[in-house]
Symmetry: C2
Subunit: 737 residues, 2 copies
């Protein structure tokens, strides 16, 4: 095998072969498909279909020269090494060592850089296996150049020509992996007519197969603690919550995530209706005139507004915006509908999507160009009624997190600096992502006072005619409050682990999966097990539990375990001959992998209680973590080290904005200075997250009169939470830049 190939050499090889391709895309180095996808997404190529290139080493005599196998396949093609080994008559294929990689592809710095384009040549000792689905496709796919930070788009057929041009003793084998896989499992038993799926081939493998090399590519590729953004993207995709989309910043919400949103919707909607709120739907379009009517309000949104300027082939006379939020859409109608105090309160809510065309890096659920939310907009005769509602709604938001998503939050008030522009005050439920030590705003309920009613002239006669102030007129008191699909991102980040998603049972698409185990290779022997699984599924569904029996043929129990673990199903019930004999199932709890038999008698009731217990365990676990990271400090010296240790600070603060700014500035600069040796240290300063309503939990204050503001030393007014924020973005920055 010959010398190192450069990117330029690859390009000139392509030119020689007259293979046209778009420009080379540069991005941050990536590990694996999910991260690659995420990086391409950032630079506007999120929809590119990807390839994967894997180098395997078969078992050979130690003295023999290695005969490595290079597999180039669609990212979505399963390429089990055992089956490929059988096909090539090679034993025990294992992923190649870095040494072997450098031998085959000298330009590669690590396994992430393995790319077939950088092969110097294809000698007879190298097996090159090209996925037939890729070889025959005239679609363009992403392939790396010499490193994982550059991507070129090539048609499958062109890639094939390219590889064939490199043969020098060896050759390029086109392999139909799907066919190999279908043909592979030894027991060729045709399924019985009455129960076609009853005897899955290869199902005899034991759970141990889970750690098989076949699962290597399928499992989550990142450790949550080591590469949080990579892990996050990987669990979302492999856990089937979402998929990338070919409009940057937009994602497909698959049933795994959308259903969680529906449970949130359904619960919250019922609760607000009990309060007297009604749902409505305003158009997604806003005229330029309406949008720009309130200059101050729109200023913040203007750079992100998407404009429709054309319909069919007609240019529109007036450009039309897609709503970024609905204040200026709705309030002119409030002015019309509210003619008298008898029309109050007016309490409307919308479930819709809004569009904010952000140009920063998109992040699934946290920063997307279109997102789903609810927005409540209400109007009252008195400030007190409005203020009461603010808290009622905030309480519901807290319950969405604690009671549905098993995520702890702390309700409080935003500082003047951090409140919603246009609000008298903003209340919030603050969440926490332990992995990054960052706070995250979970949902906000604003009291708008009369700020918008004055702008939009929403006014009624004072029913108390003795009042002559303001000509006897009252501008109504308004609130607005919103909760978005960001909730789903928080849920994933708080609960997920290295095996994948961990879903809280009350909102999980599937609450229970039933997997048949201990299957016999002998045809027709497994009917009883399959029947027992189906029966159990029916029993649980009849009991109101979202259960599914996974009777897919051709997958080992281990493969299935892994699959459902990635998807975060709270409870797995394994059912095999011994379980059936013992009239029980083996219950495996996702959150802690706890295993115990569960009697089949009365199982629906048992499972219900079990799932409630799972919810409690998940909540308690997350709450214990949050609580342990809430650090009450009184000395400034402790601030930066405590932040660096991924904590949220609870500081005595005078509530002056100058102090708030100073805390941010000082904690940022000291962070940079103090821990310069750790390149990954987040350098952002701490900003105020909220002033918790429950002050008492943090000790005898504000009664303790001697308590001083940690920054200025003047009397403190409250315990206030401070922390670094930007859950993913700051982290992205810290690990990538």
């Amino acid at each position: 095998m010959s010398g190192t190939i450069s990117d330029n050499e690859i390009i000139s090889r392509l030119q020689k072969l007259s293979i046209s391709h778009p420009e080379v895309i540069e991005h941050a180095p990536v590990k694996g498909g999910a991260e690659w996808k995420a990086e391409l997404d950032k630079v506007g190529h999120g929809s590119v279909a990807l390839t994967k290139t894997l180098l395997f080493k078969p078992k050979t005599a130690k003295t023999a020269a290695p005969t490595p196998v290079l597999v180039i396949a669609l990212e979505s093609t399963e390429t089990p090494s055992s089956i490929l080994g059988n096909h090539l008559n090679l034993k025990e294929l294992r992923l190649a060592s870095e040494d072997l990689i450098k031998e085959v592809i000298p330009s590669a710095q690590s396994k992430d850089d393995v790319s077939s384009l950088a092969l110097p040549s294809i000698p007879s000792t190298l097996h090159v296996c090209l996925d037939s689905a890729l070889a025959s496709s005239s679609e363009a796919y992403g392939v790396h150049l010499t490193s994982s930070s550059k991507t070129v788009l090539l048609k499958g057929t062109d890639l094939k020509s390219y590889l064939e041009s490199l043969t020098s003793g060896g050759n390029v084998q086109v392999v139909d992996f799907a066919a190999l896989k279908a043909a592979a499992p030894a027991p060729s038993a045709p399924a019985s007519a009455s129960k076609p799926n009853a005897a899955p081939a290869a199902a005899a493998r034991t759970p141990a197969a889970k750690k098989d090399e076949d699962l290597y590519e399928m499992a989550i590729q990142y450790k949550k603690e080591e590469d949080f953004p990579g892990w996050y993207a990987d669990v979302l995709i492999k856990g089937q919550m979402l998929d990338y989309y070919d409009v940057s910043g937009c994602y497909i919400l698959r049933p795994g995530s959308y259903t969680v949103w529906q449970y949130i919707q359904s619960w919250f909607d019922e609760e607000i209706k009990k309060l007297g709120v009604q749902d409505c739907y305003f158009p997604m379009f806003v005229s330029k005139a309406k949008l720009e009517k309130e200059k101050d309000h729109i200023e913040g949104f203007a750079p992100e507004v998407a404009w429709v300027t054309r319909a069919g082939s007609s240019e529109l006379e007036e450009h039309i915006a897609i709503r970024p939020t609905s204040e200026t859409v709705m309030y002119p109608y409030y002015a019309k509908w509210i003619q008298s105090h008898r029309d109050l309160p007016l309490r409307l809510n919308q479930w819709n999507s809004v569009v904010r065309w952000e140009f920063k890096n998109p992040q699934p659920f946290l920063r997307t160009r279109e997102f789903l939310w609810q927005e409540g907009h209400t109007a009252f005769l008195t400030r007190q009624e409005a203020a009461d509602e603010v808290m009622e709604i905030l309480d519901l938001y807290a319950k969405v997190y604690t009671d549905l998503l098993a995520v702890p939050v702390i309700p409080g008030k935003k500082s003047e600096k951090e409140k919603f522009a246009g609000a008298d005050y903003t209340t919030t439920v603050e969440g926490f992502i332990p992995t990054t030590g960052r706070g995250i705003q979970g949902g906000t309920s604003h009291h708008l006072g009369q700020n918008f009613s004055r702008m939009f002239d929403i006014v009624v006669e004072n029913p108390d005619r003795s009042v002559t102030e303001n000509d006897g007129k009252i501008h109504v008191y308004q609130n607005s409050w919103g909760l978005s699909t960001r909730t789903l991102g928080v849920m994933v980040m708080v609960h997920g682990d290295d095996q994948g998603l961990v879903l809280p049972p009350r909102v999980a698409l599937q609450q229970v999966v039933i997997v048949p185990v201990g299957l016999s290779k002998t045809e027709g022997k497994n009917g009883e097990i399959y029947d027992a699984c189906s029966k159990l599924e029916k029993t649980l569904i009849a009991g109101g539990i979202r259960a599914k029996a996974d009777l897919r043929e051709g997958y080992t129990p281990g493969w299935k375990f892994n699959d459902w673990e990635m998807r975060g199903v709270p409870l797995r019930l394994e059912l095999g001959p011994r379980d059936i004999a013992a009239n029980s199932a083996l219950a495996v709890r996702r959150v802690d992998n706890h295993k115990a038999p569960m009697p089949l008698d009365g199982i629906a009731e048992t499972v219900k209680a079990y799932l409630e217990d799972v919810h409690e365990r998940m909540y308690e676990k997350a709450k214990a973590k949050y609580d342990s990271c809430l650090k009450t400090l009184n000395n400034w010296e402790d601030v930066v080290p405590t932040l660096d240790a991924k904590n949220v600070l609870v500081l005595p603060w005078c509530e002056e904005e100058a102090c708030e700014d100073m805390i941010k500035e000082k904690s940022a600069s000291q962070a940079n200075k103090g821990v310069a040796e750790d390149a990954k240290a987040p350098s952002a300063g701490a900003k105020s997250l909220c002033i918790p309503f429950d002050q008492e939990r943090f000790g005898p204050f504000p009664d303790g009169k001697d308590q001083k503001c940690i920054q200025c030393g003047k009397p403190a007014k409250s315990w206030t939470m401070f922390g670094r924020n930007g859950v993913l973005s700051a982290w992205f920055k810290s690990v990538r830049v």
Copy 2:
């Protein structure tokens, strides 16, 4: 009073006063605000705020000269003539006769043309009362010129200057109607502290007040049978189902309509989930490349696609479409997600909104630029499974109409000509609007065969490996099915009457309204009645009934009856001293105004049964009407007269397209010829609506072998429904052009 004023004279008067105004808007003549709004909406000015101009005549001695009162007010201002009369010291104001109108404003042809702009002058005998809300406003409002077919936009302050320029002995009085109204009711009793709303002023009026002149402007202005489009717009606005919006073709769905949609959503979603369908959400944006990938499919939508070309101040490099439907959005991902027959069936549904930028006249619910719907997209291994689902879904659509909306529909198959482009076949539930005699498609469920899976390459290995056909691959079988907010339009058109909406109880926002009656003028005497109403409200709500006690002060019972009738509340319970003494309430059924006492003991259960009975009555009434308009014909001569009598035809048909075309052509031309004397006769030909699945109800056919196609005389294959369609558009055309 002097001579006739022309439009040109008005314009030149404005110029003399240096009053600037945009161009005059021309439109069809209108009667009242709803129709005016609708006409302005058609020409892109739907958001214009309107004025109203009313001429009243007070009671004077017959021999005395009349002293008419001209009121110019915001459309939304209530201008009760009794209160105005008190204010002006004039007796019994009544709307003026046409003779008096022509005397005051000689250019006016009818009361619809009354406009203050066309006043020759303001003599001392004319009282001109200008709404203070209008007089002080610098917003622009719509005002007519000399006729109701022309609108000019004037600022309120400019209108005031204009009128003041016309004074010639008389003057312009600015009147604060809201203040008058608030001050008017005689009993000045201040509300008691403990129960501020307990003794509403003016509440002593009897139900007879309902027919008072005060209600004149508030009630529905059109007869359903006389002016269907005017009636439709009026009931939607006054029934508070929707409001106009300042982007043409878009409407605000107020709680009255959106909640109906939510009940449909909630019921249908639960049903499809039982079938195994899952919900998801795809982005609203589609890249140009994806949208245009399938040329044939997009061809029909292309002229109506809305394009986003700009975000903030940046021009987008690639223009992005807003989905008009989601086939090309979703199916590329189906190709990715479906890798094996084990991934089948894939059954996804979306609740979303789609945008079709139509340039035809918009019609609320029936033709809007953005509309809400669900779109189901499913994929199966076999044609049979897909075909079974088509019918399961169609059955659910039928139940949405019959079981939720109390609207009869007929399930059937569309002809080849009328099926969805790209489908193997289309099934439909066909509704009927008796007032226009038109059929309306209620919801469609399509079997797409392999048409899209071939385009998008959605393919799996055949699990039966003995099959070698097509290389052992199977393109999946697909369905798509959709139901939109059009359902709401059909519901309104079928059930509404001259008093307003009539809502089917299972989906009504409010099922029961409780109105206190027989109130005493004496302070503090009505507490018992109000308490009884509140208690009854609580009892019903606790029983799961959507009940509301209308305790608004300052409105007569009659006013409230009218208000809730317009909104279509199925059941009104009146509660007064006599009712309380008899331990009962007076139950008034909206659908037929039937009245009977209802005992208060066990009333929640009684009301539940009562509402179920209301549903049945509404359904039976609508079904009897539909059935009576389904005319089985065998002779061609009967076709046109039967169509003209607002029927749907059931014809024996050979199922050949040529015959279908001929039926349409012949029925159109004969209609035009035959009934030329009636200018309102709809002239469209009859097209095929559907081939009902239940053929037997129409008699011994297709067994009767002698049955011949009504058009060609060859053997007929089925009874097929034919009718004119275009529920509102054709009707609009026929009455307006």
